[in-house]
Amino acid sequence: MDKIKVVLAGQPNVGKSMLINAMSGSNSLKVGNFSGVTVEKTELSFHHDSHTLEMVDLPGTYSIQGFSQEEKVAHTYLLNEEYDVIINVLDSTHMQRNLLLTLELLKLNKKMVLALNMADEAHKEGLKIDVKQIEAIIGVPVVLVSANSKEGIEELLHQVHEVFDSQERRSSNIVYSDPVEEEILELCHYMDTKGFKLRDLSSREIAIRILFEDNDLLKELDDSPLMLALTPQITKAKEHIATHHDTEDIEEIKANEYIAIARGIRMETVVCKGLKGKKNSTKKIDDILLNKYVGIPIFLFFMWGLFQLTFTIGKMPMDLIDDSFKALGELVGSFITHEATRSLIVDGIIAGVGAVVMFLPNIIILYLGIALLETTGYMSRVAFMLDGFFHKFGLHGKSFIPLVTGFGCTVPAYMATRTLKSEKDRLITLFILGFMSCGARLPIYVLFAGAFFGADEAGNVIFIIYIAGALLGLVMAKVLRVVVFKGEDEPFVMEMPKYRLPSLKLIWHTVYNNAIGYLKKAGTFILAASMLIWFASTYPKQSLLEQEYKVKIEQALGDEIQVATLENELKLKTLEASYLGQIGKASEPFFAPLGFDWKMAVALETGLAAKEVVVSTLGVLYAIGDEVDAKSNSLIKELKANVSFPSAMAFIVFVMIYLPCLAASMVFAKEAGGYKYLVYLFFFTTVTAWVLSFITYRVAGLMV
């Protein structure tokens, strides 16, 4: 079967992904995401009319000349990869701006079809588009389509086949401004009289490229005799054009010409009948949502709602998943008699998988919210309103959403940074996200605040901890911007898309892909790492110790308190002798200046696996048993007896700042684009945590 490789290119918000969905229907054979660091292009293939269509969906870009990551990806792909047909997708209701990209694409001299998407919307707005006329001007087939109503999809596929089979390229009838046209004519005339030819290019095409300084062509012409003879004439021509445009900047001249052409094409081919009712609805919504005074409160309300949904509704399935994995573990465990194998499968594998799956409800709900924000066009408005504040700290207005999410759970927060398009903004946001204390750190704060400040003060102290973390994050963002991510700010300038009703299919697609992506990529690593931690905390086996305690416990049988104490002593001693305990003891000198003993060091180290574990580890280490929670009175008593006030404060600060849990760290590495960033994050957070804890320890020491 013949293959046709089709590339979809278009500006953002033109409904490319929707169109791909509509074109492939349910025949899609495979969908894969090929993720670069920031930019993903999607590939899929399906059969149509005895051909296999391979589709590549390039990231939406306003131009292919620009500097942004997406633009570079699109540009490199279009220039260097092998493909048969370009489908240039346009938004029928924003033809003029969309045509600017089309004009750039035409320069590639590839087989192309124009898909004027959102035909139904244009129809509703009373726009009448003369397709034949556009075809005549641009010289490529044009199809009116709507991914929504499926109108024109068959026709578009048909045209792809036609263009693929055709040998000839139709020439375009694009007319530049008078001075440019005059100079083109002159150059053409000269080339024709000299009989100059280059590949299959017409003299007009060559002339245009010379005048607009197309570097590829100029290189090709560099040592041809023609260029030598033409040079004086070209200089004169450029001067003429520069005078007309009042600038010598060729990019600006090109932009002016293109914009004029695009405006010309629109005016010639689009008639607007009826009232501009639709456009005003975006305006009306903006008047409310972007209102100076109520805009931000409204947004905060939405955010609060999303947060509530994520962490209250998300909590229910989370608990359910947790319980079912525990039940499964017990069930499976009861069938395995071999102790070491049972421990590996139940405590290592099943618990590890459970820890990964547990975050799934959170991620799904959060992504649902973000997809809604993005597809409706509200996200850009959020950035617009908050950028003033966040830009002061070297962040972007859009950083707000991941930062707020970080207070709930750092895993989805890291994933939410994908909405940031600039690499610098995204990395800075990723690096400071851990400072937003996640929900799992709360029990640790509750425990320590309760122990050292009493029940009345505890609430205030915890609030201060959260606020201090957030402020520290903002300050560190500024520091990172000044010290590490130096250089000019990326421009903020962005399109405020029209408000649109979200498409269920697209949202489903986004949510599904992200959920699967999380399970696949993070899952394998988190699983491996949790097994490693399980191993480190269980081995080497202390069989002598176990024997000894087995005997003791048997002797104490009947006295429940005695048995419980003995069991916990065994746990304590096993943990102390395990690799993890050894590491904790070895790292004691590192923590000594902060006033932590080896028990606190081990608790912090188990906290690398999951912050929830810190409290239960402290429970084991301070000999109460691991069935403790933050409210446990006996643990509070033990802590008070064994830990000084300054070291407790230092401990809180350390917990606030140091590396997020394993699951989050793995997601961080993926989102930042490599494990080297995780190493940076480790040093960044550890050093900050250590220094600030040290200061806290000293200052608190003075106060006592």
């Binding site: 003029q96 972007l290 950035a383 421009p491 300038v493 962005m494 399109e495």
Partner: protein, 74 residues
């Protein structure tokens, strides 16, 4: 005058764009260039960002970026 000096509801035509290359290219790709007419649609609190309408396209930009665009009020 500068674009940043305009307020909500003002209409103007662009005279000169004096930003750096990256920003210029971005503006060009939005169809914003010398001679484009614009309408200020909204300003954020303390006017740190503003939203302008140029040929059917709504564009958000920072005040310090808008300060580099010279306009003539209509």
């Amino acid at each position: 005058m500068r674009l940043s000096e305009l307020t909500k509801g003002d209409q103007a035509v662009i005279l000169k764009i004096k930003t750096n290359e990256a920003l210029k290219t971005r503006l060009f790709s939005f169809g914003v260039a010398r001679g484009s007419e614009l309408l200020v649609e909204a300003c954020s609190l303390a006017k740190q960002t503003m939203e302008v309408l140029v040929d059917d396209t709504l564009i958000g930009l920072r005040a310090n970026e808008a300060a580099l665009i010279e306009v003539e009020k209509l």
